[in-house]
């Protein structure tokens, strides 16, 4: 076990693994059926949205309930740009920047009140966003929604549409993940984590919690907007239903289930967001909401670090079992275990 982890720590091994993953991701869609490709594409879309949520919630510790609103705005901006024949690069930039600006304005007010104000304000976003999208029918197409067909595969590629959409989404999602990875590892990421840990300590170190909350919120909104663009690439249609309130709750649940304050957890969150409703809907559509609630509460109880912390927890159980034979056979009480878990989550971030 330790030999494997030693090997994993070497840079060249990591690059090799990354290369293999990239090659697999590149070759896979050429062989898979359309439905699987579309599912993988949607995982990419929502993984970016969860990633944004993770930056404000997982890393900066501010509960945010309106991420789907920014995804919706990004999608609408994309649709508007396509309908009005903007350049695709301009569309992408607008789909990122406009939600980010909205996020900046909202964060200016929401971050003023400490504690849970951001949560209480952002819960209103999807609930206002839906009637607003219906009302601004000139821009949004009203209740019917608006479609924008712009992500058909170009002729020179010789690809099918689903494959082309897959590549576009995966490439942009990969860039987003790389950017987020660097962000949370750098100076800003450390500052955000201190803000999460203790605002008074942050202030005493010259880090303004207000400024970092606003910054993290804006970045989250930017990622939300980018995922809105990707959503349009994958689905090519959006309606007010895209930003319904329950989707926002699902995104938050996906982030917690995947793993808060973890980049890999965001990817798992995206997988969870797409796959679990597909499974529960296939069994019985009325149990989708209830199963989500049960899973979320169960994860918080049993695995507060999310699914991403599962390997570590298993490893710890094994270590305890092998090391605990010569000591007292009674099982360890839970409090120290959860404590260790908490600190490890932080480190692993």
């Amino acid at each position: 076990m330790s030999q494997v982890s030693d090997l994993l720590r070497r840079p060249w091994v990591r690059w090799l693994i990354l290369l293999v993953v990239a090659v697999v991701l590149a070759v896979l869609p050429l062989m898979l059926p359309v439905f699987v490709n579309q599912t993988l594409t949607r995982i990419g879309v929502y993984a970016v949205a969860v990633l944004g949520l993770n930056i404000i919630m997982g890393y900066t510790g501010q509960i945010m309930l309106g991420q789907i609103f920014f995804l919706g705005v990004g999608a609408y901006v994309t649709a508007y740009g396509v309908v009005n024949d903007w350049n695709i690069v301009v569309i992408f930039i607008a789909a990122c920047v406009i939600p980010a600006l909205l996020g900046l304005i909202i964060a200016f007010a929401a971050a003023r009140l400490g504690g849970l104000a951001i949560a209480m304000v952002t819960i209103a976003l999807p609930i206002i966003g839906v009637p607003l999208a219906k009302r601004l029918s000139d821009l949004t197409g009203g209740s019917q929604g608006t479609s924008a067909r712009f992500s058909s595969a170009p002729d020179w590629t010789g690809l099918y549409d689903d494959q082309w959409q897959y590549y576009v989404v995966i490439v942009i999602a990969a860039v987003a993940f790389a950017l987020a990875y660097n962000l949370v590892r750098g100076k800003y990421g450390r500052a955000m984590r201190i803000v999460k840990e203790n605002e008074a300590v942050a202030r005493s170190m010259g880090i303004s919690p207000y400024r970092y909350k606003v910054m993290a919120f804006t970045i989250a909104a930017l990622f939300g907007g980018a995922s809105g663009f990707l959503y349009m690439v994958a689905v090519q249609y959006t309606s007010p239903e895209t930003m319904a309130f329950h989707h926002s709750i699902s995104l938050l649940a996906a982030m917690v289930v995947g793993g808060a304050a973890s980049i890999a957890g965001s990817l798992i969150g995206g997988i969870y967001y797409v796959l679990v409703p597909q499974v529960t809907n296939a069994i019985d559509p009325t149990i989708t909401a209830i199963s989500q609630g049960v899973i979320l509460v169960a994860v918080l109880f049993l695995l507060p670090g999310g699914l991403v912390s599962l390997p570590r927890v298993i490893r710890r159980i094994f270590r305890r079992r092998s090391g605990g034979t010569d000591q007292t056979p009674s099982p360890q009480p839970t409090p120290p275990a959860t404590q260790a878990e908490g600190s490890e989550t932080e480190r692993q971030a």
Binding site: L116, M120, I128, R135, A289, V297, L300
Partner: protein, 293 residues
Amino acid sequence: MGTFIQLVVDGLSTGSIYAALALAIVLVNQSTGLINFAQGAMAVFSAYIAYVFVGWGVPTILAILISLIISFVIGAVVERLLIRRFEGGDPDTAVVVTIGLLTLFTGICGWLWGYNNRQFPSLFPLDTINVFGAVISVRSLGTIAVLVAIMLLLQLLFIGTKLGLALRAVSFNPTSAALSGLPVGRLLMVGWGLAAALGAVAGALVAPQLTLTPTMMDTALVYALAAVIIGGLNSPIGAVVAAWGIGVLENLGAVYVPFIGHDLKIAVPFIILFVVLLLRPQGLFGRKVVVRV
């Protein structure tokens, strides 16, 4: 003028419903320092319980009272079994638990009763009375009266009884309360139970107007949260006044400001909220919370 009075009274009436939910949120926040995002979903569940009893032929008022008692028990049990484990830890985790409860309760309602709208009988007759040329519905007046009665009862409970004193002690300083022999855990259960019962009142008042659906209270929750922020998290009176203000202003806005209209009136509290947060972040009636390091 008639329309104006009518709008104000109707606004106060819807405001009273938000106020009941807002009071429940303040109550939980005072005792445990949490925001219970599931308060609305729990209220919907209570309304469904009342609906079941009405379906069995129990008179409406009695059905609502039974659902109040059951809601109290549910609230206390939720605190004991789910929230207790996260108290004293990271408050954010506990709040995420309440968000999980929000989905859970909505999901339970949808699973048991489906997502179709159901008719819930009104507690008040649908008559109207004429005051200075304004047509005012008895239901609006009744709703306002119920909220005022709740406020008086709560005031009586918190100021006049030993239980109220103990509850205040726990919210003021749990550690000292425990040291002076108060059963803090049981009092927290009472706090959550009271909040759930308050939510049940809000649910029973709102259900006849909106018809019963699992997501009925989502909007009301947003209003109640806005009222709580505007009024100040630690001020029950502030929350009620803010809820009334929101109810009246959004009604007036919907009629007198053409762009807002009835579909966008939910944006009104949000705009008020925005201004209040920029000018007076601790809320209109709230005190600044000082954190000791």
